[in-house]
């Protein structure tokens, strides 16, 4: 299933945050959204999943959903958003219960996604017992359990330390290589963007608009840690953003 964004603009009161965004997210590809802080990239992601409504413009789903898809547009949040009173298994079955999936069938699905995210041994653990990286793995497993058409990832690795981040990036690449998924990946970390993105969309400062779309042709599976091929792209992206990032940093927040 593809996603199309048609001339999306948005303002909070008098503050214009997004201006005329047109974007197509094709099936089976990871599209990274990068931009200086406050450029509206997370807001845009909330529009795509229907958690917020843009002032003008619309988001369209094109084509068929995959088979057995319970929740076509599924988020992975920066703060994991796990229920602390439910075990790992309980957190995953939470999103199945409302679709009437219980008992053996739910167990089958949870076991499958836990195995895919290497969490098989931790099914009965509570979130507080898990490290940040493990928590995010649980959140990814939960997203996989509903078999989404598009994964909407809102800075999923930003709350983690840099080593855990590397590990999780490897895991995400392995997951994608096994079974390509469609994803919109919002991040402020350019190393993540060049590592995971088939396409990188650079947004400008507020009001956010698309400045440039950068394609990376090297297959995901062949990209590595501190990859020299990706370095030039990453440097190019940083040159694009540098001045705006500085300006965004020096901006007063209460405008």
């Amino acid at each position: 299933m593809d996603i199309r964004l048609e001339s999306i603009s948005h303002s909070y009161g008098d503050t214009e945050v997004l201006r005329d965004i047109n974007l197509e997210i094709p099936t089976g590809r990871i599209v990274c959204l990068v931009g200086p802080s406050g450029c509206g990239k997370s807001t845009l992601l909330r529009f795509i999943g229907g958690l917020e409504r843009p002032s003008t413009g619309r988001v369209l789903q094109l084509g068929e959903q995959p088979e057995g898809c319970l929740n076509p547009l599924t988020y992975v949040f920066q703060d994991f958003a796990l229920l602390p009173w439910r075990s790992v298994r309980g957190n995953i079955s939470l999103v199945l219960e409302d679709h009437g999936i219980r008992g053996a069938r739910a167990r089958e699905i949870t076991d499958d996604v836990l195995a895919r995210t290497k969490l098989g041994d931790f099914a009965e653990a509570l979130p507080r017992q898990l490290s940040g990286g493990m928590k995010q793995r649980v959140a990814i497993a939960r997203a996989l359990a509903v078999n989404p058409a598009v994964m909407l990832m809102d800075e999923p690795l930003s709350a983690l330390d840099s080593q855990t981040r590397e590990l999780l990036m490897d895991d995400l690449i392995a997951l994608w290589t096994r079974q390509p998924f469609t994803a919109v990946y919002v991040t402020h970390n350019l190393a993540e963007a060049v590592r995971l993105g088939h396409q990188i969309i650079v947004l400008s400062r507020r009001p956010g608009s698309i400045r440039e779309a950068v394609e990376i042709d090297k297959p995901l599976g062949e990209r590595g840690y501190a990859d020299p091929d990706l370095e030039s792209t990453q440097r190019y992206l940083w040159e694009l953003m540098r001045e705006e990032a500085r300006a965004a940093d020096e901006e007063l927040l209460d405008v």
């Binding site: 949040f77 939470l94 999103v95 219960e97 409302d98």
Partner: protein, 269 residues
Amino acid sequence: MSDIAARSDPIEVRFRGGGFAPKSHRWVGFAVFVLLIALMEWGTRTGWISALTLPKPSDVLATFRELWDSGLLFKHLGPSLTRLVVGAALGASLGIGVGILIGLFSYVRAGLVPLVAAIFPVPKIALLPLFVIWFGIDEASKYALIAFGTFTPTVVATYGAVDNVDRSLIRMGQSFGLSWLSIVRKIVLPGAMPGILSGLRISLAIAIILLVAAEMLGAEYGIGAYILEAGSLYDLERLFAGVVILSLLGVLVSAAISLIEKRLLGWRS
């Protein structure tokens, strides 16, 4: 080593990170009780404290034993506990229900929060005559007084707890397409449970206070009636025996809530 370091004697870094970390010292609380009672016993025995000021703790204990032996204790405790349980259960469950509605619906909030704020500071004891007119002099007016007194603090604690539920969890529920009822049942209620239970701790203490007030009017048996009768006769031993029973009741209620917290909130570490 640099030149400067070689020139003077080393000074050990002083530890300054202590304190501000509560630790559990269970026995200290117990020791304070024992010490106070021992002091009272010693003071009354030597005459340093006059018999009119404080009763002898051993006499209070004797009174208590008498109460137990004569079976009067349960004759008083039975009706009191019934009143407490019925009144507090009514008030708390109504309070939790209304508190959740206030937390979930902004119209209910706009309508009821000022009302709750208006009745919260009213001393419920002052309303006792009114309750007697409304519900009669029997048990119903006592239930109503206790229920009314527990209702307001429970409402305030409950809607505060619902407000404090992590919004990102609710948003997560919405993003997975959970139904409104599922979000309330599986995310909002468990998330509000810690706040509701700590509110209940306060509400139930208030219920015990109001129990005595409720038994001021037309109660033959009950801890409150017993204390009031002893008080009007200046029978300090019996008065203290009654007070001790109330304190024990408070400790018991608090322990019961701790137990519920341990069962329901085990996930909090």
